[in-house]
């Protein structure tokens, strides 16, 4: 018989910290939103909110994939470079080769999936540590993107292609809804599906998971494939948004931004802890900061440095509240 113990409604300090710890991402987001609304003029204006949502859509897509990789205790340092490669491939397929839009999308996503699969196989079966494998593959991918583009940028892409992300729905570009759809889908996958449960178990306790029949090798490879696919999708949406396909898109800075968002969103570097909802809030949080920096006229370069401080803060706070052994 389970002993039913009544929890007192008066929250003890310990319980409060525990509550905050589990929902760190929400508290950070709420805190930032409130401060921004109060301190920065025009922040809460409708147009500005729209800008924030538009700017969050693409990193959000990539962040979902990175979150899953982080949940296994790994990292994907090639993510930003996959974005660039996906960008130039989509430009070539859409404009130079004039392929139908569905085929372009499929091809780009497939390319991302294959690259991610390679990352996963190298990490799992060649036993190369993830940070080295993806560091090395990142440079390889960057070089490939440069070769494929032959140094040029492809502009003025076909309207049908651009429509995927630029169609106006309820005042927001369709890219935002694509991101929302992806988020919803993966939220269900991670929080409700068998795969998600096995992923979390693998991240927390790989040995116990393996002995419980969880297919750890398959999961490890799969998350990298997913990360690659979503990175490619992000590259696709990016290309549509700026109407230019170029190999320099994304890059190391984008990878870093995505990792920051994931960690601010509560993902633990040691594995197991992470959620789609948290990561989306993490993306929104850092985009709020970026937005405020723009509105206040502060240099963008300062924002890059600030991002680093944010991630450190998030790690330190995460260490204190997560407290994983």
């Amino acid at each position: 018989m389970t002993r039913e113990v009544k929890r007192p409604l008066g929250l003890t300090p310990g319980a409060l910290i525990g509550l905050m710890g589990r929902h760190v991402s929400f508290f950070i987001f709420a805190f930032l939103a409130i401060i921004a609304t109060l301190c920065v003029r025009n922040f809460a204006a409708r147009d500005n909110i729209v800008i924030i949502l538009k700017q969050s859509a693409i990193p959000a897509v990539a962040c979902i994939g990175m979150t899953m990789v982080l949940m296994t205790g790994g990292i994907d340092l090639s993510l930003g470079y996959i974005v660039g490669l996906a960008s130039i491939i989509s430009g070539i397929l859409a404009k130079t080769l004039l392929l139908p839009v569905p085929e372009v999308v499929l091809a780009v996503l497939l390319a991302g999936a294959l690259i991610g699969l390679a990352n996963g196989l190298i990490t799992q079966y060649l036993r190369v540590p993830a940070f080295i494998a993806t560091l090395g593959s990142g440079y390889v991918i960057y070089g490939l993107a440069q070769i494929v583009s032959q140094g040029s940028i492809i502009n003025r892409l076909p309207a049908g292609f651009l429509a995927i992300g630029r169609t106006d729905l309820f005042g927001l570009p369709s890219a935002v809804f694509v991101a929302a759809g992806v988020a919803l889908g993966f939220h269900i996958l991670i929080s409700r599906a068998i795969f998600g449960r096995q992923l979390r178990a693998f991240g927390f306790g790989p040995k116990a998971a393996a002995l419980s029949g969880v297919p750890t090798a398959r999961i490890n490879v799969t998350v990298y494939a997913i990360s690659g696919t979503l990175a490619a999708l992000a590259g696709l949406l990016f290309t549509i948004r700026v109407n230019a396909a170029q190999p320099n898109m994304g890059g190391g800075v984008f990878t870093f931004e995505v990792v920051t968002a994931a960690i601010v969103g509560g993902t633990s570097l040691f594995g197991g802890v992470g959620s789609v909802a948290g990561s989306i809030l993490g993306v929104l949080s850092i985009k709020i900061i970026e937005n405020c920096i723009n509105l206040l006229g502060v240099s963008y370069h300062l924002y890059l440095a600030v991002q680093g401080a944010i991630i450190l803060l998030a790690i330190i706070v995460g260490n204190m509240t997560n407290r994983r052994a």
Partner: protein, 507 residues
């Protein structure tokens, strides 16, 4: 040659509860008023089964853990050891089973790690090599101190550790199962070293269960059982039967339930399985509704056998047949789906996912059964967890409680619950009641009996003799990677017999 180097009196160590505090008001302790002496120039053999308290006693002497009560005197002086370095500075050296060296450094750099000699402000490598050579020569070892430790055999690494200990002017050397991975020749060399050290007036504590070695190298022995000293003898009076009798007399304070009935159908059959290319083939079988015990000392290969059956360890020959099919290369996932379950001995890293709660842990091996179209149904999962909490009497606030906060007994019940949810036909249990309070132990025994009663075949590894003998219909005993005996339950199955087979390989 008769100075007392070490005198331990009334050493007591309590079992610690999940909250980190000692449990004082119970008869069950890790060590209970143990006395132990060591004289200069003697080799004192310490004998006892798994869990008897030998390593705890030596850890206390080695300064690694403090005693909860009792007194330690070194050369007549009272001493309270702060840590291992403190013990070493007071002349006590501990040669562990897992050797404590940096594999990537050479011998000399290992020996002088932390006290590298200096000359004119710079590390004096020449002096290190010279001193190391001298120390090794003193042990009649001509190893080149420039050799990288990773390239040394276990025996050579051991000699390096001994030489290192000697360089601290140790008077007392504790050796924990030193011959476990040595060849006969290497053992002879080691014994020569031990005799030399003894002749120099050092005192050596030699932990072992290898009876054949006691006579060769020991001067006297003491036996621990269930945390108490039960006696000793001078080596001149050594009689294996008496020692076994002392080791084996565990009190039996539980009535082990036996309501299940062994059936005809064979569930598991192991044929000619070799754990390594050098160990003999193993044959083993378990029937429906049968509880088969697997006994033997730590290191005899029981867990390795279980893991080989469960597909997580490669083995060197032979086959496993489960429900009539050859399952030799099957993955754990496939075996679980076919009804095999393995409750591993290390529940914290291999049994439970500590970051998750009861509900998530108990469903982990049977997710498909609480899911529809790949999506887990929370109500079904909760119902399953609640049912298990009820059935196994798990004490918890709810199914959402993190397993890390449960007591050892309740944690083990969670793991058991996880496996019961897979509707197993074969349940392999590896030390199912280790580190669990008495009440929970009895509950688990009852559960095991009930599970067997439903027709599940059970293979149970246990180091607790009363449990092993009380619960099993049949027992296999392993020693050094081989099965040395198969004993049916009955009046002839005594603790002494089991210990004799475990230690000697024969009676």
């Amino acid at each position: 040659m008769n100075d007392t180097l070490i005198a331990m009196r009334g050493i007591t160590k309590f079992i610690y509860g999940g909250d980190g505090r000692p449990i004082r008001n119970t008869d069950v302790k890790i060590l209970d008023q143990v006395d132990f002496d060591l004289a200069a120039g003697e080799v004192h053999v310490l004998v006892g089964e798994n869990g008897a308290g030998k390593s705890t006693l030596m850890k206390i002497l080695g300064g690694i853990i403090p005693p909860d009560a009792g007194e330690l005197r070194i050369a007549g002086q009272r001493a309270e050891l702060q840590n291992a370095r403190d013990a070493r500075e007071k002349g006590i050296a501990f040669i562990h089973q897992e050797l404590n060296l940096c594999p990537n450094l050479d011998v000399a750099h290992n020996m002088f790690l932390g006290r590298e000699p200096r000359r004119r402000g710079v590390k004096d490598a020449a002096a290190m090599y010279a001193k190391s050579s001298a120390l090794l020569q003193a042990l009649s070892c001509d190893l080149d101190p420039r050799t990288q430790v990773a390239r040394l055999s276990t025996a050579q690494q051991q000699i390096v550790e001994i030489a290192k200990a000697m360089s601290f002017q140790s008077r007392v050397v504790i050796m924990d199962e030193p011959t476990a991975s040595l060849t006969k020749r290497e053992i002879d060399v080691l014994f020569g070293l031990i005799r030399r050290m003894r002749a120099d007036g050092m005192g050596i504590i030699y932990i072992s269960h290898r009876f054949e070695e006691f006579l060769e190298v020991g001067d006297r022995l003491s036996v621990l059982r269930d945390g108490r000293s039960v006696g000793g003898m001078r080596m001149s009076e050594f009689d294996p039967g008496t020692v076994i009798h002392m080791m084996a007399g565990h009190a039996i304070d539980e009535m082990y339930p036996r309501t299940h009935r062994v059936q005809e159908e064979r569930v598991l059959e192991v044929k000619g399985l070799r754990l390594t290319p050098r160990t003999p083939p193993i044959d083993l079988a378990v029937n429906r509704g049968e509880v088969v015990g697997l006994g033997g000392l730590v290191g005899s290969g029981r867990t390795e056998l279980a893991k080989s059956i469960f597909g997580v360890r490669a083995f060197a020959g032979g086959e496993v047949r489960y429900l009539g099919r050859k399952t030799t290369a099957w993955s754990p996932g496939r075996l679980i789906a076919a009804g095999m379950a393995y409750l591993s001995e290390d529940r914290k890293t291999e049994g439970l996912v500590l970051g998750m709660n009861i509900r998530e842990n108990t469903s982990l091996a049977s997710l498909a059964s609480v899911a529809t179209l790949g999506l887990i149904s929370r109500p079904r999962e909760l119902a399953q967890a609640a049912g298990l909490i009820d059935q196994l009497s798990i004490v918890a606030q709810s199914a959402e409680q993190p397993v890390a906060t449960l007591s050892g007994g309740n944690q083990q019940k969670c793991v058991l619950g996880k496996w019961l949810s897979t509707s197993p036909r074969l349940l392999i249990l590896d030390e199912p009641t280790r580190g669990i309070d008495v009440g929970a132990k009895a509950q688990i025994h009852k559960l095991i009996d009930q599970i067997a009663g439903t027709g599940v075949a059970i293979l149970m590894i246990s180091s607790e003799l009363p449990e092993l003998i009380g619960m099993s219909d049949r027992i296999y005993i392993m020693r050094a990677g081989a099965v040395v005996a198969e004993l049916p339950a009955g009046p002839g199955l005594t603790q002494e017999k089991v210990v004799a087979y475990s230690c000697l390989g024969e009676t």
